[in-house]
Symmetry: C2
Subunit: 666 residues, 2 copies
């Protein structure tokens, strides 16, 4: 590596340690006992009377107190062995790092190069000699033998198409299920109660289901063979709705260490993938630091770096320069590439009358290139070659929506949908080439035009996973676009979008800092979870119910800990009621100690428990409102009233009970 | 008044002054030239090349620099004259303020009584003598004469039913239209483009349309005849979607002056109505301060104060005590009362198996009362009397949903819908009694169950306006419930909900402070506006478009000022690019100065402008994707390329142009 190191510019400060009252646990799939699939278990208070709650965990080893984190060394790379075991790959020297990879940064401003160097892997062009690479996870020898008739299988799509279940597939099946194995009956009920608009979410996820979804092109596991640090995850509408967080320095501001810290911070709060959108100097080094420390898939937009390599002038871009950039990033281990191959010359003039023209950076770079040379986009004309290259590393396509609308006024216009139709055409080419594909979507779309986007994407792109930015449902709230877009994200997630790209409060205004990243991630976790609930996802409501029970029973700490952001919940509570005693108090600041609606509900339960079935039926025959009370029933009521009074009907706070409660928890 | 004054506990600090780059203007309706209907005009920068944008303005005189604000004196009361002019009312001594009205607060903790005292008005039981009250705004003498056959008309509903247009109706018609008069063609297009689910939003709003909507019960103008400070507004699904902000001290925390300040703060950012949910001491005095300083309708839940009057014990509540509280608050000028008359004894046991029982405070108070006495709710049995009382002051009903779900698990259950059916029955009674009515709705509802709520409410309640709290679309994010609920609020607003009750980040955790109030209001302005856009509201998109043009043209200050919260937008921008010069810079921090997608779009426009129609058609015949490029077209392309290069194709920032831009703006 010819990047000068500057030790002072990289610190190793990232946030580690468990979330409040949480424990990292690892599940072991029956079909691959060597795998350790992470979960976070939220530990409830002693008095909860229900089991701890396992939740999906994106945070990687950073929240495992038994792992020593050293950002300078990077994470362990267990997945490299899985890849090598199944064969069909070779380790090779790799491309030399060139000064332009880091924007020709001078020694004074160069970021410290990452310490370790790993020789990259790539797929072989011809089958390996017999005897090698016989360790394909879950594959029968016969199935593998079938593979030997073709070039070696490399991508998850290729394995899936040939009926082979990889370790990655086993891993994500285990990861998606969470508490579902023990709750199959409930899972069926949840599915029946939801509205999934034609999705096919199963009650329980098997590795075979994962394989089948990938083989159909309906899901992807973005997993570059060079990203050994990866904890595999799956993106598809029959799985949990995922979210992506964008980070990345820009020509104007931000540094390498800030970006690594943001990545760790984003996954701590639930980002399923992270896109590094860095521009400017140190772009290669920044990405290396991020990848070597990232347990989640990393996506990039290679055209950004390619543009840096020709001094920011889109006119100077060439296929050769772009291809070299793809190789550079594929060798590093980038898991998915945004490729704006749908921005065709013939569509560009369709954007001329828009209120906000072309707002995608990638889209406008390609538009500029096409116009200046008056040629079809080289991404479109070289698409076959791009597929061949990405297949060798199993880099997934994220087909970019370079013509997405940048304002409510431009939503769902001809330019946008023309591009989407081309993305559908390219999806089929990429599949034929053995690649995994997802499709990027808008943008700025008013609520009543969101479902049209989802339906058209499913139709045009053969159900390949959709991955949208929001969409923002209004343009009038700069500073709050996490919210304008969170609304649209929840809706499109419900309609079938597989991954939601977050928007932070700084959208349109500046680069997100650490707080903005957290706000964006939590907002999108809300959107994704609301979508899962509405679809009837079998395990989603378990967490809502656990939290609601905690809320109802005044288990304040459990309420905080079961939430997406325990720290903020507790801080807000402390602002009004800072005393520790209040954490077990049977009231909240809205009603105060004298009167509490939740206390009264307990009285209702005691009352209902005292009613016989006939009495209930007489009181209110379910299904018939507006019944008048007859004399006979009133007699029964008088008896009930006496019974209820016997049980005690005070709503005052009982100081003795609070003391007992204190004791029980201390 | 027998409340001791304590001058030190009340300060007069509220936020006054215009919003950034905004000017208060007043429109004068042709049919009532004495009315001054407020608007806020957002002043665009000189280079904008488009007119300033008028927007709806809830902020009252506080943002008019020509008005001297003295919170101790209260606002002017012009509306009192309108009421007196149309007659049918009498001024009378009013009820004495009793110590229990303020929770028997001692001298040490008593808030300062409000300085001025206004004798209340109430409706007369018999027609006024001929010659009096002939000044009904817009009414023909004949129409008014018809009124003389009945008891005098007092409520907006009564006037509307008898074909009489009040000044309040003229006022709100003017207020709702904004820029629509000049944009009728555009208004029609917007309506055609939207999806309003059966709403009947007109292109232009006339006073007669307002009257008709009120007469049908589809809209209300909450306007107590004793709230002379009011700037009338309308709630109904064929008008702009409104939002409510809750304020109010509690037994645990907060003070009178904080609540007045929160009210002024909430309307500054766009709250259309404010509910005072105070409990504990000084409850009467707090409300008086709020009402005398409020230009927006004030709502309350009278049962809260009634409960304070019997030491917080629901069992001790009586109809007489409740009725006395209604009179107390009606005389003060409260514009709408939440009345939980749908919590019937026979429904209570339906909540026993819920995860979170009864979470409405009003609902649980009444449930407790019903159970303890084993009697039907006195709100239900005395509903006729409540109507007669509220009619005399034109206090609008907000029929409370005391059995609303408090968790995702309890959404849309039998208890909730049984109550809603009863609210429908009560709506018809209230209408027959001449009252204005809206209906409160949930609560916690997953996305796929929201529309069912809206549809059932319209059906059961004869299209009376719906007024929902959120709904929250998931329970798992305490600390972020403005967002979990903003998603549901936007959706139900789109489906037809007329007013959205905000939820702040402190929901479930503590009392909202000033910052929380602002966050809640802005979030709900987003939800309401997103709903208006999706419905196809004729004027809604004007603001989105103006902001998007500003964004596209790098008019940073215009972008900030056109947003819902210019202060935050500018502060966020300053964090990354603090220099003044950047406010006119033709780039943003996401892309930096070297490359900018918006610049490229300008190139596209220049290019498209250079294309002939035939050339465009040859490039991309609209409606047909995937066309291949023929040789002939390629020749044309080469020509275009040359033409484009002539026009200059640089994407670099032109330092000279920035300087010119600086000059132009300074």
């Amino acid at each position: 590596m010819n990047i000068r190191s500057n030790p002072e510019t990289t610190r190793a400060a990232v946030t580690t340690g468990a979330l409040p009252s949480s424990k990292k646990i690892y599940a072991t799939p029956a079909s691959a006992p060597d795998l350790r699939v992470p979960l976070r278990e939220i530990i409830l208070s002693e008095g909860a009377g229900e089991p701890n709650l396992p939740v999906y965990d994106t945070s990687g080893p950073y929240t495992d107190p038994t792992v020593v984190i050293d950002v300078n060394k990077g994470l362990p790379r267990p997945r490299t062995e899985w890849v090598k075991q199944r064969g069909g790959v070779e380790q090779y020297q790799g491309r030399d790092i060139k000064p332009e990879d880091n924007g020709n940064v001078g020694a004074a401003h160069a970021a410290k190069a990452f310490t370790a160097h790993h020789q990259p892997l790539r797929g072989l062009d011809s089958p390996p000699p017999r005897g090698e690479g016989s360790g394909v996870g879950g594959a029968t020898p016969a199935a593998f033998a079938r593979g030997a008739d073709h070039p070696p299988m490399i991508t998850q799509y290729e394995f899936a198409r040939r009926g082979i279940i990889t370790k990655e597939m086993i891993y994500v099946a285990e990861r998606e299920n969470l508490g579902r194995k023990q709750q199959l009956e409930r899972a069926e009920a949840a599915l029946a109660d939801g509205e999934s608009f034609g999705a096919a979410v199963p009650a329980f996820i098997t590795p075979e289901f994962v394989r089948d979804e990938i083989a159909r092109g309906r899901a992807i596991i973005p997993a570059n063979i060079n990203h050994g640090e990866l904890e595999p995850m799956i993106i598809g509408r029959n799985f949990l709705t995922k979210i992506n967080a964008n980070i990345g320095n820009s020509a104007v501001t931000s540094s390498v260490e800030e970006e690594v810290d943001k990545m760790v911070w984003a996954i701590r709060w639930g980002a399923d993938t992270v896109m590094d959108l860095s521009t400017g100097r140190n772009i290669h080094t920044t990405r290396e630091w991020i990848l070597r420390n990232s347990p989640v898939p990393i996506g990039t937009v290679p055209i950004y770096q390619a543009l840096e390599k020709c001094e920011g002038d889109p006119v100077k871009l060439t296929w050769e320069l772009y291809k070299d950039t793809l190789i550079e990033q594929a060798e590093q281990g980038v898991d998915y590439f945004t490729i704006h191959a749908g921005v065709r010359l013939q569509y560009i003039h369709l954007t001329a009358s828009r209120v906000t023209g072309i707002v995608s950076r990638g889209g406008s770079i390609m538009a500029k290139w096409c116009l200046a040379h008056h040629k079809e986009s080289f991404l479109y004309t070289h698409f076959d070659e791009i597929c061949d290259l990405m297949r060798k590393y199993d880099v997934s396509f994220s087909l970019g929506d370079g013509l997405r609308p940048g304002s409510i006024a431009d939503a769902n216009d001809r330019a946008q949908f023309a591009e989407l139709e081309t993305l559908g055409e390219l999806t089929k080419i990429a599949w034929a080439k053995g690649c995994q594909v997802m499709i990027e979507g808008p943008g700025h779309v008013p609520m009543h035009k969101i479902k049209i986007n989802m339906d058209k994407q499913l139709k045009e792109c053969g159900e390949a996973p959709f991955y949208t930015l929001g969409p923002l449902t209004t343009d009038i709230a700069p500073g709050y676009d996490h919210i304008t877009s969170g609304i649209g994200a929840a809706m499109i997630g419900w309609f079938g979008c597989a991954m939601l790209c977050y928007v932070t409060p700084k959208e349109h205004l500046g680069l997100p800092d650490r707080n903005d990243v957290k706000t964006g991630v939590i907002t999108y976790k809300i959107a994704a979870h609301a979508a899962d609930l509405a679809k009837g996802h079998p395990a989603a409501q378990l967490r809502d119910d656990a939290l609601s029970r905690a809320r109802f029973e005044f288990r304040w700490q459990d309420q905080f800990n079961l939430g997406l952001d325990p720290d903020t919940a507790q801080a807000f509570h402390d602002e009004t009621l800072p005393k520790d005693a209040h954490k077990v108090a049977h009231f909240c600041s809205m009603c105060g100690p004298k009167f509490c609606s939740m206390k009264i509900t307990q009285d209702v339960r005691d009352y209902a428990a005292g009613l016989g079935d006939n009495e209930k039926a007489a009181l209110y025959p379910v299904g018939h409102a507006g019944m008048t009370i007859s004399g006979t029933i009133e007699d029964g009521m008088a008896q009930m009233s006496a019974k209820f009074k016997e049980m005690g009907s005070s709503v005052y706070l009982d100081a003795e009970k609070v003391k007992e409660s204190n004791k029980a928890l201390s």
